[in-house]
Amino acid sequence: MSSPPPRPAASAALSPVNRAAIVDLRFVEALEALAAAAPPEALAPPARAGDEPLVPGLSLTVREALRCFEAQVASRHLDLEARAMKARGECFYTIGSSGHEANACVAAALRPTDPALLHYRSGPFFLRRAAQVPAATPLFDVLLGLAASREEPIAGGRHKVWGSASLAIPPQTSTIASHLPKALGLAVAIERARRLELAGRYPPDAVVCASFGDASMNHATAQAAFQAAGWLTQQRLPAPVLFVCEDNGIGISVPTPRGWVCEAMRLRPGIRYLWADGGDLAATYEAAQAAAVYVRETRRPAFLHLAVERLMGHAGSDVESTYRTLDEIAATEARDPLLRVARQLVLSGAATARSLLDLYEETRARVGAAAREAARRPRLETVEEVVRPLAPRDPARVRTEAVGAAPPEARARAFGGGELPEAQRPRHMAVLIGWALRDLFARYPEALLFGEDVGRKGGVYHVTDGLQRAFGRARVFDTLLDETTILGLAMGAGMQGLLPCPEIQYLAYIHNALDQLRGEACSMAYFSQGAFENPMVVRVASLAYQKGFGGHFHNDTSTAALRDIPGLIVACPSRGDDAAAMLRTAFAAARVQQSVVCFLEPIALYMRKDLLPNDGAWQFAYPAPTDDAAHVPIGEARLYDEGARDGADLLLIAYGNGVPIALVAARRLAEEADGKGTRARVRVLDLRWLQPLDERAIVEQARAAGRRVVVVCEGRRAGGVAEPVLALLAEHLGSEGLVVERVTGADTYLPLGQAAELCLPSEESVLSAARRVLSRPAPGAAR
């Protein structure tokens, strides 16, 4: 019933560039030759039953083989059509799956409820899985993605991804296997939820599948995931993850050394290695099935190594002939897995060549027609539309959630039956954070805390002391020494519906794992329009001023790399009661609006008790969790008016360690009288949240202080928080005149010992700046 196949033009067939046309033509010609060689219908053997094995002794049935082939054919035509759409200016993505047909078998071996984190050549997997779920429309969904239409159901035109909520496929945008740590994290979280008897998003017997290529396997992030998987298994901790390496032998233009993937992975401790020839459908399915069963039943990781091909170049724009000879290219095309599968189906009697050819041509027509429809669907049109799903904010819900506590019995248990913390005397920040965590963990049974040394030791600064005893090792646990893995575990826990609170031991160490926040965690809501989430509150012992101890790694002050991550909330309390309240706000934001929060705890303020020597003024009462004050709205600064209620002469803007420095400076300035005997009225603004900034308070308070401002930032001069504050002041008050200085850290790594103090703001440097600002003519007066 189908029309004759449109043939690629002869000129295209000769082109070294347009290999798509050649791959297409070769398939059609080979199938036609097979069809021509078939016996007449009357003499043909009877069609084989769907339940029979395709190859005697192996488990792939004829029917499953045909279903995989249907998915593979559809994927091939999506690749071909993407190039046609691009030529028409309708498509923005041409990385294809041709040659990676084997991954359909992995989908067939898994359940549609097994979460699958797929890399970018996963068309056959996606289509095979979608066929298991009624009412799925994978073909059109993919075409909408190619066309970058806002109607694409998962990313809404923000990227071309493989993703679907109903298919348990969280979209991935990684090109470097940086999704592997969270895949492992999700596997761990599925087991954690089971152990804690909590209902998770994915079933307790699920297997997590993560696929990637032979080149990206070499990436440090991928290696971190393999390492952590083995480390867990070594301790008999379950991690049901199936790593699928689709080895096409080349990374863009660089060949993978022959045998490298196998040699690197086959003897890896704790990870079972399996291999299959991806062009052999029955063998691939057998291996995928064995791997899936192994992982599901043993809850241990496996590594499925599939030998595949890469056809039609790296992407549509890649001219393969610049780094491969035409003979090499043609040899790869001759091994086209789709053709090999078709031959296997025909020669085993599963289908006639004619029926496969009909399917191929019907699918071509179908994809072509659907592509024309997809191309006319609307695209993203405004910035507001683009950023809408990035980090939804609902302050009212956050407030409602933040103010609350566990039932009294649970609280009493969490605090060991003694006096409740709000009834105790004021304490320093480390104690108040510890109490806040106890309250939160009593309230949220799904909350998990993990990191280096947080369990038995209770943290290097004892902030988490006793939490493991109080809440058990399933909820409070030590990890291996790898921040990438810690953040991967957090993402996985969030994806399973838990409430993770990972700890990064020092701010410097978050930078080695930053892509896990930047590329992965913070992009999840954006690229899935909220269909998938990975909320978390990352506690980070941060900043400097450890009295010369520790050197640069333990005194890092860099926040710029965090502040520019889209959607990330960055908190930085400077006093204990704020820290407790802000931590509750952060947990509430994670819980009700799926926020990713970095909670920077200034190490040097953990134990600080005094503002001025021996005054005990930097200890604070614990805010009871049901008090309204138990919550600090995200992005709301704290003003210290220091008695200057009717306006001020100077505003000091600070955060973290800068706050007590600024407060001391303000008091000293207030004690100094100028020549006329007047004393300066100085206010201090504690930013508390570094992202988003309290733009309104900054501008209003600067105006109220006569536009005389000193910004205190312990971060470096380049890229520190002073920069955006100054930019904001310039934008809003620049035309009115502004006298402003910043006191910042030096552009250096911090040295050891007392030399560190040379490089950081001090009371003296703040005072000097303040005096200079106060002594200059009134802003705007010169005009």
Binding site: M1, P134, A135, P138
Partner: protein, 386 residues
């Protein structure tokens, strides 16, 4: 206009075939099954003959008069035409009698069926139209189910309720919510989701409660919620007994793989190469009988995955045209956003066809019940040659 049979220069029209269910044969359909029309290609005559022969053989075996006796009755009689056995046979015979138009169009390269959908009982017609059941076997299945229902009489019933905006035909969320609330309050259940309307079902008491709970409404001279005369609580657990009859009957028949993709009442697709016939049988006799039938999902899957130029509805009747139009508007298919868009492409195509010109774009719906639509299918060539 070029004669039917002349090879078209453009590609064949991609057609999704939609088979109507119970309730499609009413007074205006009298005579529509057996009446010949001018210009019929031979395939149409043959198909009508085959359809009537298959259904009449079953009816004769059950002691029922031939379909022609019903179709050519002087007037429409609810007690006769809506009785379960007669009504079912009229639906199947009326559907298959029109199938010849599709065969004729395919033979001329004018159209190609890319998927088949049945609405409710029309799923049995769809099984025959896609080649999974022979027409004879389909007639036997439908006959057996119709006879069992006629013997037992209606069990509960169905009402229709619109959930689209009257003027634009766009989905109306507030009405959807009202339906959800009324279902929860009454114990009645969703039976068929048509997209723009819903069919709700339940026992007599449940329906009475439902009718009291739904905001009443008058549209096009009809009052909603509207009872469907003679219907049972189809696609609910009230029909579990009928499942048993369906299983026993289908076990004696030769169900095969469809020759064209078949989209079921969940939006799942049974494909020619890879269908598991046992699953298709199970769906047909179990889920399809006792669980909601989601025609809206089926239409959406057809639009997105098979991208038809045109939905062709078999007879009897042409009520599915509006349903398809509403589904297309909900999907934004072919750029349709509102009823006026739908009417515009329908009228442009009809006007062109009447004037003997190729249409600027194919119509969204062709109803084979309408002679002009039927004729245009066999001579139609898509202007879209992509």
């Amino acid at each position: 206009m070029s004669a039917a049979g002349e090879a078209p220069s453009a590609r064949p029209l991609r057609v999704a075939l939609v088979c109507p269910g119970r309730g499609s044969y009413a007074a205006s359909e009298l005579g529509s099954i057996t009446r010949a029309q001018a210009g019929e290609p031979p395939e149409v005559v043959a198909a009508r003959g085959r359809a009537l022969a298959a259904v009449d053989a079953e009816r004769a075996a059950r002691g029922l008069p031939a379909v022609a006796a019903l179709d050519q009755a002087e007037r429409f009689s609810p007690s006769l035409h809506l009785r379960a056995d007669n009504a079912s046979d009229l639906i199947l015979a009326g559907g298959l009698a029109h199938h010849g138009w599709v065969e004729a169009a395919a033979a001329r390269g004018a159209a190609e069926v890319v998927c088949v959908i049945g609405n409710s009982m029309g799923f049995y017609t769809a099984l025959a139209a896609c080649g999974a059941l022979s027409w004879k076997d389909a007639a036997h299945l439908v006959g057996a189910l119709g006879a069992a229902q006629a013997e037992r009489g209606p069990v509960g019933g169905q009402v229709v309720y619109p959930v689209h905006a009257t003027e634009t035909w766009q989905p109306d969320r507030a009405r959807r919510r009202a339906v959800t609330d009324a279902l929860a309050a009454s114990g009645a259940r969703l039976s068929i989701d048509l997209g723009g309307s819903v069919v709700l079902a339940g026992s007599t008491t449940e329906l009475a409660r439902l009718e009291a709970a739904l905001p009443p409404e008058e549209r096009g001279g009809r009052r909603y919620p509207l009872r469907l005369a003679g219907h049972s609580a189809f696609h609910t657990s009230h029909m579990a007994w009928l499942s048993a009859v369906a299983r026993d009957t289908l076990a004696t028949l030769r169900l095969g793989r469809p020759r064209v993709p078949l989209v079921d009442g969940r939006g799942a697709v049974f494909r020619p190469l890879s269908t598991n016939v046992a699953s298709l049988a199970r769906y047909t006799t179990d889920h399809q009988v006792t669980e909601p039938f989601d025609l809206a999902a089926a239409l959406r899957v057809a639009m997105r995955e098979y991208a038809p130029d045109t939905f062709v509805t078999l007879g009897p009747g042409e009520t599915l045209g509006g349903v398809i139009g509403q589904a297309a508007i909900a999907e934004g298919y072919r750029g349709l956003r509102a009823r006026a868009d739908f009417q515009a492409i329908q009228e442009a195509a009809a006007g062109a066809s009447e004037a003997g010109h190729p249409a600027p774009a194919p119509p969204l719906v062709l109803a084979l019940q309408r002679p002009a639509d039927a004729l245009s299918l066999v001579v139609f060539t898509s202007s879209n040659t992509g």
